[in-house]
């Protein structure tokens, strides 16, 4: 600072004028108002809808962008795992922030019906969908089918002279001790599907099923927050294997990780992925358009293009060849969603208490 500045600009008055109490308050209030306006403004533009997506971003984003390309409606979404998404929608029940719940295992939606967070809506294609791909009253409709698979790390198998597991009992082999990763039932629908698969394989005998799950637990290194959370560790060799949805498993393989996909001979469950309209949605009409599009070949025909390994729910869409190849010969059964929905909370609670610790 030169001496002239000091002389001509007295240090007190002009420099600090902006700090006078009154105008400081005006600034504060203005900023607050701006923030509020900004906050309210951004979520309610015309021709756009808000959604929570249970599908991971790398699948939701391309699909929703395709939707925007074909209809001009923008979809603002936030990704949550199924448990988190459900929790958010329920918490926001009185003042819904989203219009659609996009993707996610059916049993999550079944649990949500009881909380009264969905608005029934039957898209036109509902008539051609098989019964298990739609909810009787129209609370949800399926957009894809997603079988569970076993995925194991090839290097681990080689080092331990194991072949890829082809039975549920293979997984309780002590060789896998502390080397399995799979989803946590508190937050992930993958886990719930897995648990109900085990139940189904054991003829819905809960005691047998839970006995198996406890044995399995001994080999589990970590229960992950999201369904696909264990795929990377398995890919890296941090874990030896796990039970995942086929979309996540194939994605890992596609990334270049050295993994093997296999199926248990006793059979493994598949869970439909669904979509639903939120009760009290602010953009219900546009939301319905999204549901129409997602449940039809409009979206499902694009799975192959974007290399998303969901099995289409709509009967007119063929499963892409590479996926069909993987699924050949696998014994896959559907999870009974009525049964699953009715018992989800009880079974998950029991799992948390008996199996998790």
């Amino acid at each position: 600072m030169g001496s002239c500045e000091r002389r001509c600009l007295p240090a007190g008055l002009t420099r600090n004028r902006r700090f006078s109490p009154i105008s400081r308050w005006q600034h504060f209030i203005a900023t607050v108002l701006m923030a509020i306006a900004f906050g309210w403004g951004s979520a309610a533009a015309a021709d756009s809808i808000n959604a929570y997506s249970i599908w991971p971003e790398n699948w939701a984003r391309p699909m929703l962008q395709e939707f925007e390309a074909s209809t001009g409606i923008k979809v603002n979404f936030l990704r949550f795992s199924s448990g988190e998404a459900l929790a958010r929608v329920i918490a926001e029940k009185n003042n819904p922030k989203v219009d659609v719940l996009f993707g996610g295992p059916v049993e999550t939606f079944a649990a949500g019906i009881k909380e009264g967070i969905f608005e029934p809506y039957k898209p036109p294609v509902a008539t051609v969908l098989p019964a298990r791909f739609k909810e009787a009253d129209g609370y949800w409709t399926a957009i894809a089918d997603d079988p569970l698979v076993f995925m194991t790390n090839q290097k681990f198998l080689t080092e331990n002279k194991l072949s890829p597991p082809t039975s549920w009992d293979d997984l309780i082999n002590p060789a896998y001790k502390n080397m399995l990763q799979m989803a946590d039932a508190r937050t992930s629908g993958t886990a719930v599907t897995r648990i109900f698969s085990v139940l189904e394989v054991n003829g819905r005998d809960e005691e047998k099923a839970f006995a198996y799950l406890k044995k399995l637990r001994a080999n589990v290194q970590l229960y992950t927050k999201s369904g696909g959370g264990g795929t990377l560790p398995v890919g890296l060799g941090q874990a030896a294997g796990g039970i995942f949805f086929i979309v996540d498993a194939l994605d890992t393989k596609a990334k270049g990780y050295d993994v093997v996909i296999s199926f248990p001979k006793e059979g493994i469950g598949t869970s439909a992925e669904a979509i639903a309209l939120i009760k009290g949605a602010k953009n219900a009409d546009a939301g319905k358009k999204l549901i129409d599009w997602a449940t039809s070949p409009g979206m499902q025909g694009l799975f192959a293009k974007h290399k998303i390994n969901f099995v289409p729910a709509h009967p007119d869409v063929k499963t892409q060849a590479s996926l069909a190849e993987v699924l050949r010969g696998a014994k896959i059964f559907a999870i009974d969603d009525a049964y699953a929905g009715a018992n989800r909370k009880r079974i998950v609670d029991r799992w948390v208490v008996e199996v998790l610790p």
Partner: protein, 363 residues
């Protein structure tokens, strides 16, 4: 602007002490500061002098009484409206502002023109001898220089009254003497009514027109230096101002214009009349050390008989402690010659002129 008077009417200040409960820092103080005079509030720490000053300034609200500056009752008025200039003990210079800006502060608050401000600041800086210091920052200045900036800052706004709160206590002895002379001459020159607080009685006596000695929240005595020194109104004042020998005694006879008292059972001394005294009344005799003459008993005749217990040579004087029949008296002999030196243990004669004794009636 003609100088203003300050008046305190039965002013008190009470506060709640955490342990002691309600404590009166200042109790029922009334005084008047004459226009243009420099009145010092003098007393030991805790006597209430600073609190009184702060109440005049408006930094503290009295719990009772009124304060008037000029004709204006300022008791409920904020400090920034009283037209005062305050010089703090630690100078309180704004560390982030230059000397110029520090001094200009009050003028800027008054929204004066920049050109006017510049002129006024330069003028007052030269008055305190700090020309050329404009762009210095406070931490670059010595204690004395900071003191002068504080002074300049208080003066430049042409206050009605000037208030000093122990401004020199952070300076070394020589600087203190020099600064107090400068403050006094400046005050006389400007003619502003001034209240000055200090615990240093020498300082008070050097610069004040009048001194108010305070003790435990009240005023012990107001008067000029000589009055306080020669005719203290209480033991406290006697002790506080200068050194004093205090001898409890009683009036043995009353004459016209003089009384006799008994000193240490040895002799009757004739003293000039001091106030209304009765025969046999208990009094305290206040005797200043320099009033006593001391002489080797073998070399003189007449006077009080005592024995030297200690002798301290201080260059310009010798301090003797003399045992006078059980009482210890301090005696000062100025300009001591080697031949005059009296060693401890020697018997001496003390000479006490009648006018050198001041009597305080016992309460």
């Amino acid at each position: 602007m003609s100088p203003l008077a300050i008046r305190l009417d039965h002013v008190s200040a009470q506060f709640l002490h955490r342990v002691k409960g309600a404590v009166a820092a200042v109790q029922d103080v009334s005084l008047e500061v004459r226009p243009g005079e420099l009145l010092t509030l003098l007393g030991p720490s805790g006597c209430g002098k600073t609190t009184t000053l702060r109440m005049i300034a408006g930094f503290q609200e009295p719990t009772g009484g009124r304060i008037l500056i000029g004709d204006r009752d300022v008791t409920g008025i904020e400090a920034n409206d009283r037209g005062i200039g305050f010089v703090f003990q630690n100078y309180a210079l704004f560390p982030h502002l230059t000397v110029f800006e520090n001094v200009a502060y009050g003028l800027r608050v008054q929204r004066q023109q920049a050109s006017q401000i510049a002129v006024a600041v330069r003028e007052v800086l030269s008055l305190v001898g700090l020309t050329g210091y404009d762009w210095q920052l406070p931490h670059q200045l010595s204690g004395g220089e900071q003191q002068r900036v504080a002074l300049a800052r208080a003066i430049v706004i042409r206050p009605g009254v000037l208030l000093f709160d122990e401004p020199l206590s952070n300076l070394d002895a020589k600087l203190r003497v020099q600064m107090r002379r400068e403050i006094r001459s400046l005050q006389k020159k400007l003619g502003i009514t001034t209240v000055y607080v200090t615990h240093d009685q020498e300082e008070a006596m050097a610069i004040s027109d009048r001194i108010a000695v305070m003790n435990k929240g009240g005023i012990a005595q107001i008067g000029d230096a000589e009055e306080l020194y020669r005719r203290p109104a209480s033991v406290f004042v006697a002790r506080f101002i200068g050194h004093a020998n205090l001898l409890p005694t009683s009036v043995t006879s009353i004459g016209a214009g003089s009384v006799e008292i008994d000193i240490a059972g040895q002799r009757h001394i004739v003293v000039a009349q001091c106030g209304d005294l009765r025969l046999g009344q208990a009094v305290t005799a206040v005797i200043r050390p320099e009033a006593l003459g001391i002489c080797d008993a073998s070399k003189s005749d007449g006077g009080l008989m005592g024995r030297v217990t200690s002798c301290t040579y201080l260059g310009d004087k010798c301090e003797y402690v003399v045992d006078l029949a059980g009482a210890e008296l301090q005696v000062i002999k100025a300009n001591p010659q080697p031949s005059d030196r009296i060693l401890p243990g020697t018997a001496v004669h003390l000479n006490l002129p009648a006018a050198g004794i001041h009597l305080l009636p016992e309460r």
